[in-house]
């Protein structure tokens, strides 16, 4: 390139296009932050810990509280939705991990190489089914099943339905991550375990799985991030809860994402706009949670690469 940097219009224009991606992300964060600003100062730290989401009296004159105009009695707390998000995706992970580990092991070791591509494609296809179609299936098939056989109230909508649908949606993420890792385990490691007299199942569980543990955890964390941000399927099967924490797996719940979808209509009726601003604050909270989870997944998967290269 030499000492003098030549200006290259072609490269610069491509760079300009690629900088639009960080710019879009920056705009999303910046405008949510700006718009939520008043809500953040009004809500303070009680936002995360409050159980009640109360729009206040929208028909009386707004009152001045903590320097901003809000409807009288307005109180925004999102603990119910944070708990709903953590519980539904936590239970989904508990269900998805054994399923995807089992499926990945079976695909990697028990299925003949000729039909493995077909079966692994089917697993991948689970991940591309749109969220709203999962929700439709939940309403048509899952909700009646839960309502008839499990829920004491006979109402199938709730935490369990949301968790099951989420579990199905994230299973392929964990399963395909693990399958790829299992197929990359060096032949020598497998064969030496066989040579020690291990059964085939012992080779998989005691020699291969420990080698891909970090990748597996990375896949699980990635799936957790996906489950937390999932919206439509949860909106359709979770029942929707406000101002009450779930007390059993059959309780209706709202997640942060589903609450944003279902509440904007009522929030718009607030003349001070504080409810819409508080929803922007919720969206920011969801963004930060998923960002943290995805960053963990990224760290774990890069860590896994280091382990692999050290072994070679």
């Amino acid at each position: 390139m030499g000492a003098v940097m030549k200006i290259k219009p072609f490269r610069l224009s491509l760079l300009g296009l690629s900088l639009l991606i960080p710019a879009a992300l920056g705009a999303v964060v910046l405008f949510l932050l700006l718009y939520a600003g008043q809500a953040i100062s009004f809500n303070g730290f009680g936002f995360l810990g409050g159980v009640n989401w109360n729009l206040g009296n929208l028909y009386s004159d707004p009152v001045m509280t903590r320097g901003v105009q809000v409807p009288s009695g307005a109180d925004y707390g999102i603990l119910v939705f944070v708990v709903g998000t953590l519980l539904s995706s936590g239970i989904a992970i508990l269900m998805a991990v054994p399923l995807s580990v089992g499926a990945a092991i079976f695909l990697a070791e028990a299925v003949p190489g000729t039909i493995r591509p077909v079966l692994s494609m089917l697993v991948e296809l689970v991940a591309v089914v749109p969220s709203v179609v999962f929700g439709l299936w939940g309403i048509a098939v899952l909700i009646p099943l839960i309502g008839t056989y499990l829920a004491p109230s006979g109402n199938g909508y709730g935490l369990l339905a949301a968790s099951i649908v989420l579990a199905l949606m994230i299973t392929p993420i964990i399963a395909t991550t693990l399958l790829d890792a299992l197929l990359r385990v060096p032949r020598e490691n497998r064969e030496s375990a066989f040579a020690l007299g291990a059964t085939h199942f012992e080779v998989v569980t005691k020699a291969m799985l420990p080698m891909v543990r970090t990748t597996l955890v990375g896949g699980i964390v990635l799936a957790l991030g996906r489950a937390m941000g999932e919206t439509m399927a949860v909106v359709m099967v979770s029942g929707g809860a406000i101002n009450i924490l779930p007390h059993s797996v059959f309780s209706p719940v709202s997640t942060i994402a589903s609450f944003i979808v279902t509440q904007l209509d009522s929030a718009q009726s607030d003349p001070t706009n504080m409810a819409v601003r508080s929803l922007a604050e919720i969206a920011l909270v969801l963004f930060l949670i998923t960002l943290a989870v995805n960053a963990c997944a990224k760290l774990l998967s890069s860590g896994a690469l280091n382990v692999r290269s050290r072994q070679h």
Partner: protein, 290 residues
């Protein structure tokens, strides 16, 4: 003698136990695979059954009327939003992919790649809410095709960039060097050698992005709105219908006709998404066949 026999017996017992554990383990793994694939088969079956039985000529020729009628407005709206989103996203995504693959092996490239991954991981409802406060509230566009398309474009650009980058990296360096040796300029090498060489990969990315935009709902709810009428060509100040809206709202109506429309819409969306994904995978696999 008896000690040896008992050791032998214990060994035999241990071997039997290990074999049994193995057998149970494989059975559990097989069952897990069935539980992963089973629901997919059931989803496709249920949606196809109800969806196909709701098909009629009227479905494709008339607009929705309340929660009954046809789906023409929704099909048109999804097509409009998807095409406009692709028009916005493909140049940006492919351009970014070219930059990252050809000139992005530096700090700046890593930063862009990282932020692109962050955007991929951002829940789509967050993007939808951002668009709501910016395009609908601040810019005053009202629910509109343009707001919806820009939101979907933001959603799919990182995918396009990543897949384009991966496809371009598959093109051997020798081909680039051959081009430069012939005196070709950088744009000529990129557009006449690298991009054609990776055309199928870039097409794959575009098709997958298309499938994502057809199946999305959350980012459209507060950007597209909903309309019972055909699109009148206005980019702003005019709400537009889309197929996924029909699925999640009409299924909550108490009428059989609404349910039929929801299933029909789900069937169309699911078929487009699955056809694209299966097609792409079959082509990619054939290309990679040894």
């Amino acid at each position: 003698m008896s000690a040896a026999a008992s050791i032998k017996a214990r060994r035999g017992g241990l071997a039997a136990r290990r074999a049994i554990i193995g057998g149970l383990g494989w059975a559990a793994c097989g069952l897990a695979l069935l539980l992963v694939i089973g629901p997919l088969v059931d989803i496709v079956g249920v949606v196809s059954w109800h969806g196909a039985s709701a098909f009629s000529v009227k479905l494709f020729t008339t607009v929705t009327n309340g929660t009954a009628g046809g789906l023409l407005n929704a099909i048109e709206g999804t097509a409009v939003i998807t095409v406009m989103a692709m028009i916005i996203a493909v140049p940006v995504g492919v351009g970014a992919g070219i930059y990252l693959s050809e000139y992005g092996n530096n700090k700046l490239g890593s930063v862009i790649r990282f932020l692109s991954d962050v955007l991929t991981g951002t829940p789509s409802i967050v993007l939808g809410y951002f668009s709501y406060i910016v395009f609908i509230n601040a810019l005053g566009w009202d629910f509109s095709a343009l707001a919806a398309s820009i939101t979907i474009a933001i959603l799919i650009v990182p995918y396009l960039a990543r897949i384009t980058e991966l496809a371009l990296r598959q093109v051997p360096n020798a081909m680039r060097e051959a081009g430069f040796a012939l005196g070709a300029s950088e744009p000529a090498v990129v557009f006449k050698i690298v991009l054609p060489g990776a055309a199928s990969g870039v097409m794959t990315g575009a098709l997958l992005a298309l499938a994502i935009s057809v199946g999305e709902t959350a980012p459209l709810i507060y950007t597209a709105g909903w309309s019972n009428y055909l699109w009148n060509g206005k980019l702003t100040h005019e709400p537009i219908g889309y197929l996924t809206y029909v699925i999640w709202t009409f299924i909550d109506q108490p009428y059989a006709a609404s349910h039929a429309l929801a299933y029909a819409a789900a069937f169309i969306v699911m078929m487009v998404v699955l056809a694209i994904n299966i097609g792409v995978r079959l082509v990619v696999r054939r290309g990679k066949a040894v």
